[in-house]
Symmetry: C2
Subunit: 174 residues, 2 copies
């Protein structure tokens, strides 16, 4: 899923500006997708050029102007096509686990801060996901994705909690 498809998907939930799409993605897809403005704005301009989305400039009295995009019929078709044909990989890239593989080379302080930091991050994401799950206008699919994150991150936190003692005792030479 490149940024263009991500934008099409986000816009299928409702019209939005680039800024709003990023906020929305962080709030709902945050635990399994990342986006930056540097990729979102070029993607929106390209999609506009291809006629897959349409742009309306909205002047706001107190805030800066914004460009609100909406999905066209062609865009909706393109999204469906993409969803039907794309690969559906689930990739994890964890420097957290990599560093932990070498627990014996770390100081106990470092080990502790890495473990606690990761628990904190999972719990931050869990709160976001649970907030999301409370909404009653959620589609079955979106509910599945959020529930998946909830289940997996709960398991992760529980594992770290129960095995923290082991790694702290066994690691930390030096």
């Amino acid at each position: 899923v490149d940024t263009k498809t991500l934008c099409l998907g986000a816009l299928s939930f409702g019209d939005a500006s680039g800024y709003e799409i990023k906020k929305q993605v962080e709030g709902s897809f945050g635990h399994f997708l990342a986006v930056s403005y540097g990729s979102i704005y070029p993607a929106l301009n390209e999609l506009c050029g291809q006629g897959l989305i349409a742009c309306t400039v909205v002047s706001q009295d107190v805030r800066p102007d914004k460009k609100v995009y909406r999905l066209t019929d062609a865009g909706r078709s393109k999204l469906r096509e993409e969803l039907m044909g794309c690969r559906t990989t689930h990739k994890v890239r964890s420097e957290f686990l990599f560093v932990l593989c070498f627990a014996a080379m770390l100081t106990p302080e470092r080990l502790l801060s890495v473990l606690d930091g990761q628990v904190e991050e999972f719990e931050r994401n869990l709160r976001l996901v649970q907030l999301w799950l409370k909404r009653d206008d959620l589609s079955t699919g979106a509910r599945f994705a959020a529930g998946f994150g909830d289940a997996v991150m709960r398991a992760a936190v529980e594992f770290i909690r129960t095995n923290k003692g082991m790694v702290l005792a066994g690691g930390g030479a030096q």
Copy 2:
């Protein structure tokens, strides 16, 4: 963790060639790290030039020659330094969950194949991790990383199994 640090880490477990490092990483770190030859070989050459690893060419009678690398003292220091100072992000990028968010736009066949495919992949990785966990020469840290993968992927498979019916019934309009 860039590829260079990954190579230093892999070599801390024992001398190896680029080819062997990739196999080793796929077998043990596979569920949370990916590497390709296109990044491994340049990384090894660079590390060699910096004196962080040393190279010995081993001629084999029937197989092609190989370059076996070993960590130097400088390399081990560099690895420790890197492990002590680097950020420890845990990133998930899931096109699987993204596609599932739009379950209502997919055919039931597509939905079923995506769900089953993901379960299969998790189970493949679970088998690898469990094989790894059986080894008794495993450091506490490596055991933690493998156990984490085991716990999290188990939770993922269980979630998909128990919620497959829901998403199959609720999604698949069209």
